[in-house]
Symmetry: C2
Subunit: 340 residues, 2 copies
């Protein structure tokens, strides 16, 4: 919809439409009302008109993240906004939550605002049911779509991610090499990254010839992802008779709950129990003993995502479609790796 | 700058300028180049043209916060974005850092994007040197300015804040009433809210007849605001011969450093030392023993800020200029308040 469409629709000359939308006084009230009604009826936001003005870019990038109060996502948004601004782009932020319908609506909203690209932060956008990813592929038909910690193979979609599978595989193998074979894995997300992490755990068991038992792999739903929630889940596990000498969790906050359980039960860490977490944020240093955790190189990922986007804008011929960085295991007092 | 200005500047008729900016083919290349150069030279972003189109609102609110990876600010941005979207407004996020010049530039940038209002999140925008607040007052001449945890008395500026002074006064008084008189206060911000908190500490000492000693009030600069940084500062304080039986900190992360120092020094908490923090985020539950902290009602503040803004937009006659909420002290294992 542009000034020509409004002219056609109203039967008012382009010059007059131009006068109306520029607020000129030399237009009759009746004509003015008709033109404004047509603009309103068009249902578009004003930016569409700016786009219609023939200027190619709004210099605005849409950022979608599930929940900007999640420490992982909050940091990601921060790094991305900083780097976009250095490149003279503004950030339009939408916190979509985890509901698929809301994500689809938010994407529509961003596209109607004529953003220059969309960045999807976090691994919860790409679904295993591939039909549910249509809204991402459709968006990529209009603007570049950048995924931070997600992968979707389609034109105009670019992924930057951390090798979460390898990181959990390495942690699990270190547990096993140091004599811990009664392992439990606690996870809270079935997203792309969540399933990769789980795969790293089960592959490490397989490669070490340790049978994979269902009752040792526990999913924690979102309202139990807290210190107290995780503590209770480990306590229930022990009550059911599950024995463990090592617990690996997909998020630091869950591991802290494990430490609280250990303290209450009189377990000595790391002697009786090895514990490792994931993300390596503040809390891994706040708890007692301090937590062995995986640094997933979030800042590197985010900066790379923005620089890739700038290469896409520059029509660089050698833009990587997918870039994978390695995580780093930061050992603290909850493990004692004599052999790595 | 609008279509008329471009016409005047270039000597090209309005109809022709309109054709150029609508991408019509029936304009000579020379004229087209001249018009586009004039638009470019005007230095304005396309949105300015959208505004020039006579539509009153971009339905976009500018949000400035120093650092969206700070957990306090991240949560605030999340709550605000959610509530704005419920009211059909988009959020343009700028992470400004703490440098005054950058804040001023960011404000200019938001205004040039023709946002409908600006929300300044966190207490680090209003400076004690009042001249430095001109950029906020100037912005308020154009759009409503909402402050979350800051106060500036000027037309079209609205504040929502937590009574940080009263909260620290109450915590300090509880320490004193329970026999702790060798108190230390650790703080990391000289912002409006930071100085209010400090005032709460010193007023409580004064009212209890306890002399205020400079070496017991310690400022921690930003690169030492970490578990290890705070631990070292307390350790240095003890080495200098300062005796303490209670430490209150302006941020939870500092208090966790105090707990680490206590553990290393063999101090028993709360018997030998009372400790309290501020913000009541995850880490206050992660540390050992768990931390007594102040819940500053951030979600309530943010939701109230957005609802106030909506009242301003609705030209409601009874919009509060300043709204103050009370904090809540959440006692955990680092204090033992027999008398409150």
């Amino acid at each position: 919809m542009n000034i020509y469409d409004i002219s056609k629709k109203t039967g008012v000359s382009i010059a007059t439409v131009s006068r109306v939308i520029n607020g000129s006084a030399s237009v009759s009230e009746k004509t003015r009302a008709k033109v404004l009604a047509a603009i309103e009826e068009s249902g578009y936001t004003p930016n569409v008109f700016a786009r219609g003005l023939g200027l190619n870019t709004m210099k605005t990038i849409g950022i979608m993240c599930a929940d900007s109060s999640d420490p992982y996502l909050a940091r990601a948004v921060y790094y991305i906004e900083q780097d976009l601004r250095k490149n003279n782009y503004d950030s339009l932020l939408l916190c979509t939550g985890y509901d698929h319908d809301v994500k689809v609506k938010c994407m529509d909203q961003l596209l109607s605002k004529r953003v220059d690209a969309v960045i999807l932060v976090g691994s919860n956008y790409v679904e295993f049911n591939d039909e549910m990813n249509d809204y991402i592929r459709n968006a990529a038909a209009t603007v570049p779509v950048m995924l931070v910690n997600g992968v979707l193979n389609a034109p105009n979609i670019y992924s930057t991610l951390c090798d979460d599978r390898a990181a959990i595989y390495e942690v699990t193998t270190s547990f096993i090499n140091n004599g811990r074979k009664k392992l439990v894995y606690l996870y809270n997300s079935r997203s792309y990254s969540g399933m990769k992490k789980l795969g790293g755990f089960t592959d490490a068991l397989k490669d070490a010839g340790i049978p994979i038992k269902k009752d040792r792999i526990v999913f924690i739903d979102s309202h139990n992802v807290s210190v107290q929630g995780a503590k209770k889940i480990v306590s229930d596990l022990a009550k059911k008779g599950v024995k463990f000498d090592g617990i690996i969790a997909a998020d630091d906050i869950i591991s802290v709950g494990v430490l609280k359980y250990a303290k209450e039960s009189g377990l000595s860490i790391p002697d009786d129990l090895f514990v490792a977490g994931y993300n390596n944020f503040d809390i891994s240093e706040c708890c007692e003993p301090e937590l062995t955790s995986v640094d997933n190189k979030l800042e590197v990922l985010c900066r790379h995502c923005v620089s890739t986007l700038m290469s896409v804008f520059a029509e660089d011929k050698s833009v990587p479609k997918r870039t994978v960085f390695s995580a780093e295991i930061v050992e603290r007092a909850t493990t004692d790796f004599k052999i790595k």
